[in-house]
Symmetry: C2
Subunit: 451 residues, 2 copies
C-alpha cells in the first residue's frame, strides 16, 4: 500500500507493508534528505512524532485516500510538534514508560539540595568512571535486599540508562571477538539496534510459557527473566538452571535486563538470576521505571572478568555519569526514599492493573489477559483470526494509541511459525491518573467493537 506524507512542504512517498509504517516513514525521510528533496537543514521529526504519525497513517490506511498530514512546519528548521499530529483528546496505552506524574519531585529536590550542600567541592570535579562510591554502596545494599542480587559496590558501574549499559557490554564483547548475542524473539526494538551498532548479530531465540528457550549458540544471551518484555512470562526455575549451565559450559555471558523487577504484585518476589552465577551473569537495573526515564540512570553489576574492560569503555564513552544526579539518587536510596517510592508506585500500578483486568473481564471477556502478575504492561491475546493492525487503526480513530504485539517481534532466521497469536501490548502506566478511566473505556470499546 502506498501513502504520501508531507513534511516541511515536501511530499514523501511511503510504501506501507504490513505494520512497518514507522520504518517506511523513516526511510522516506532519509531518502528525501539524501536526494536533496528535503533541505539538508530540515529538522526531522522526533521518534515520538513518528510514532504518532504512524498511528495516524495507520488509522487512515483503510480509507483509500491520499494521506498528507502536513504538520505545521513553517520553516525548514522548525520542529513539528507531536501535538500537531496527535489525534484530539489522545490517549496512550503503549508500553515502555512509567507514570511520570509519580516522580517524587519534593523528595528529589530536597535530596538534591542536601547532597549538594554536603558534598565536598572535589565531588564536582571529574569523578569515578564507575560511579560515585556513595551511590554504588547504596545500590549494592538496595539490590541485595530488594532483588537478591549478589552485589558488591566494586562490581557496579553506573550508566546513562540501560541503552548505554547494553552498548558498553556489546562493545566489550565485540572487542573480545564475540559475534552473536541471542535475544528473546520478542523485545524492545532498540536493544537489537544497539547490539547491531556495535557490530554484533542479534539472534532471536523462542519464548514459550516458561520463558526464553535456552541453548541457541551465541556469545551472550540477553534475557528479561523476572517479567519477559513484552510477553510477561517469568523465566521458570528449570530455565534459570539451564541458562546458568549454558553459561558455564559455553563460556557465554548472560545479560539480565531487570527493567521492572521491583513491580511484582501477586506472588513472592522473583529474585535476580544473577545470584545463581555472579561470574557468568551481568545484572542490569534502572531508575527509568521507578523514578523517570528522563534521568538516564541505570547500573550494571558485573562479573570480575568484565569489570576492567567495561570501565574502560565507559571512560571513553563519557567519562562518567552526571555527578549531581548520582549524588541525589544516593541520598534517596540511603534515606529510604527510594524504597518508599517503589512501594508507592507498586501500589498505584497494582490498582491500575486490577482496574484493567476487571474492565476487560466485564466488557470483553473474549480477550485473554496475560503477564499481569508484574510490571507495567499486559498482553491481551485476541481471538484467532483477529487483525491486530486493524484494531490499532480503529483505536487510533477513537483517539487511542495502541501497539500490536508484532511491533516487538524479532523475526527469527528459521522463520518459524508465529507462536503468539494476534495480541496487543497494553502499557497501563503511561496515561496520567485523571485520564486512565477514559483510556480504559476507549480500549474496551475498541475491543468490543471487534466482535
Amino acid at each position: 500500500m502506498a501513502r504520501t506524507w508531507a513534511i516541511a512542504g515536501v511530499d514523501l512517498h511511503l510504501e506501507l507493508t504490513g505494520t512497518r509504517v514507522r520504518a517506511a516513514l523513516e526511510s522516506a525521510l532519509r531518502e528525501a534528505v539524501r536526494t536533496g528533496r528535503l533541505a539538508a537543514g530540515t529538522r526531522l521529526p522526533s521518534s515520538r512524532t513518528l510514532a504518532v504519525a504512524e498511528g495516524w497513517l495507520t488509522a487512515r490506511s483503510g480509507s483509500g485516500t491520499r494521506v498528507a498530514a502536513r504538520p505545521a512546519v513553517p520553516t525548514p528548521s522548525a520542529v513539528p510538534s507531536p501535538l500537531a499530529l496527535r489525534p484530539a483528546h489522545g490517549h496512550d496505552l503503549r508500553a515502555g514508560s512509567p507514570d511520570v506524574s509519580m516522580f517524587p519531585r519534593t523528595a528529589w529536590t530536597a535530596a538534591a539540595r542536601r547532597a549538594l550542600q554536603t558534598a565536598p567541592p572535589q565531588a564536582l570535579a571529574y569523578g569515578h568512571t564507575c560511579g560515585l562510591p556513595e551511590l554504588r554502596t547504596a545500590l549494592a545494599g538496595y539490590l541485595a535486599r530488594a532483588r537478591g542480587v549478589h552485589a558488591d559496590p566494586e562490581r557496579i558501574v553506573v550508566c546513562a540508562g540501560f541503552a548505554q549499559a547494553l552498548g558498553l557490554l556489546s562493545r566489550v564483547l565485540r572487542s573480545r571477538g564475540a559475534t552473536t548475542v541471542a535475544v528473546e524473539a520478542y523485545g524492545h526494538p532498540q536493544h537489537a539496534e544497539i547490539i547491531a551498532a556495535e557490530g554484533l548479530r542479534a539472534r532471536p531465540v523462542p519464548v514459550d510459557a516458561h520463558g526464553a528457550v535456552i541453548g541457541t549458540p551465541a556469545d551472550a544471551l540477553l534475557l528479561t527473566p523476572a517479567h519477559q518484555f513484552p510477553l510477561g512470562v517469568t523465566l521458570a526455575a528449570h530455565r534459570r538452571t539451564e541458562a546458568v549451565r549454558w553459561a558455564h559450559e559455553t563460556g557465554g555471558l548472560v545479560i539480565e535486563d531487570d527493567y521492572d523487577g521491583e513491580f511484582r504484585y501477586d506472588r513472592q518476589p522473583v529474585g535476580a538470576l544473577q545470584a545463581l552465577a555472579p561470574e557468568h551473569v551481568v545484572y542490569a537495573g534502572t531508575a527509568s521505571k521507578s523514578l523517570a526515564p528522563g534521568l538516564r540512570l541505570a547500573w550494571l553489576v558485573l562479573p570480575a572478568h568484565l569489570l576492567e574492560e567495561v570501565t574502560e569503555a565507559k571512560r571513553l564513552a563519557d567519562g562518567h555519569t552526571s555527578t549531581l544526579d548520582q549524588l541525589t539518587l544516593a541520598e534517596l536510596v540511603t534515606r529510604g526514599d527510594y524504597d518508599r517510592q517503589i512501594r508507592r508506585c507498586r501500589l498505584a500500578y497494582r490498582r491500575r492493573r486490577d482496574r484493567l483486568t476487571a474492565a476487560l473481564h466485564r466488557e470483553v471477556p473474549h480477550v485473554r489477559v496475560a503477564g499481569v502478575s508484574a510490571g507495567l504492561h499486559a498482553l491481551l491475546t485476541l481471538p484467532r483470526g483477529t487483525d491486530e493492525q486493524d484494531l490499532v487503526t480503529r483505536a487510533a480513530r477513537r483517539g487511542l494509541a495502541l501497539e500490536a504485539l508484532t511491533t516487538y517481534r524479532r523475526p527469527s532466521e528459521a522463520d518459524t511459525p508465529e507462536p503468539y497469536g494476534p495480541a496487543l501490548v497494553v502499557g497501563y502506566a503511561t496515561p496520567p491518573p485523571h485520564a486512565y478511566t477514559a483510556a480504559l473505556a476507549r480500549l474496551c470499546a475498541t475491543l468490543a467493537d471487534r466482535r
Copy 2:
C-alpha cells in the same frame, strides 16, 4: 630504570622509560591481572590514583631504592584511596580542571527547584535525543552572543561531556568511510584514545606560533582555535582562513573544541571559527570549565549534513542526556545566572593568572610564561637543557603535582624534532583558593632550585 610498586599485596615490576611512568604503571597492572598475579576481582587504582602514584614514583626515582608504595588495600575489592598515595600537604598545579569550589551551589539548587516545579510531567519521560528544546534555545542565544557561533537550536545536540561528543562524531565519520582525524601535536591524551576507539587514526599536525599548521591530509581536523591546549597559542587569522579553505577544498570536517573560549582576559574575545563556515565546522562547547566537569554537559553545533547521523548515534549511545541537569542549565542560562557565573570565574582566574605571572617574574625570571591571555593554564618554558621530568620529580618531593609538556605530546609519524623546548603545563585553577599561595610558593621554590 626499573621500579616496583605494590597493590593489594602484589609487587608490580615497572620499566620506567623517560616520562612514561603512568603508562608503565597501567601496563604493569593490566599484565598482573592478565597473568593472574592480581586476583581478577581486584579493583584497579583510579586514573587519579595513578597520577598521584606517578608523581610519587617519579619523586623517588633518583633515590635508587626499591619503591613499594603499598597503599592500604586490605581486601582485593577495596579501592585504594588517592589520599593514601598523595604526599602530605599535597598541592596540584596540573591542568584540566576548573576551581570546583566556585560551582554556584545556591544558584544551581534554586534553578533545579524552579525547573522541577514548573516542568510538565512529560518532561521526565524519554526526552528529545538532541536535548531539551528549552536548553537548545537558551544555548543558541548564549553561544551567538558570547562566542559568535552561528547557532540554530535545531543544529544543537546536547552531549554527556566533550568526550561523548567526540566519540559520536568519530563514530559518524567512521561510518561514512573516514580513516583519519588530524589532531594537534600537543593535546589531551584522551581525545586521541577516543578517536582510536572508534577505529580512526589520530594523525598529529605541528603547532607553531600561529597555531596548528593546516594542510595535513585527513578526513577531519580537531582544533582548539581560541586557546590551544596546552600550548596556549591562538589560531591566527590566516590559519583560520586556511582551515576553512582546507575544509571547502577537501570536504574535510573541522571540529572546534572550544573548551575554555569564555575565559579570555587581555584582548578582545576571539570568536568561534565555526562562524566562518558553519557547514564545514562543528562547534563543541562545554560546562566543564564554567560550572563543573562532574556535570558532564557539553554541546555540539552541527552542520546540517551531520545532524541526522549524530542524532542517531546519540540515540543509540544513551537516548539523551539527563533531563534534570538540562532543565537546570536551561534555567541558569535563561535567567542570566550562567553569564554571571562566567564573569565571576573570569575575574577569579584572571587574578590567579596575574598572581602566577607576577610571582614567576619576581622569583624565577629565567622562566618564560606563555599562553596566559586566556584559559586556566600557562605554559612555562624552561631554559634549554632543563630536565622536565627531574623538575616534576623535585616538585613532587615538595608535595606539588606538576605536569611536563611531554605528557601532552602526540609523537608525529615523521618523528620531527621537538619544537617546544622543556616546559611545564601549569593549571592554576585547580588548587582551592586558600591553597593557591602555598602552591605558587612551592612552584617558585622548585623552579628557583633548578638554577
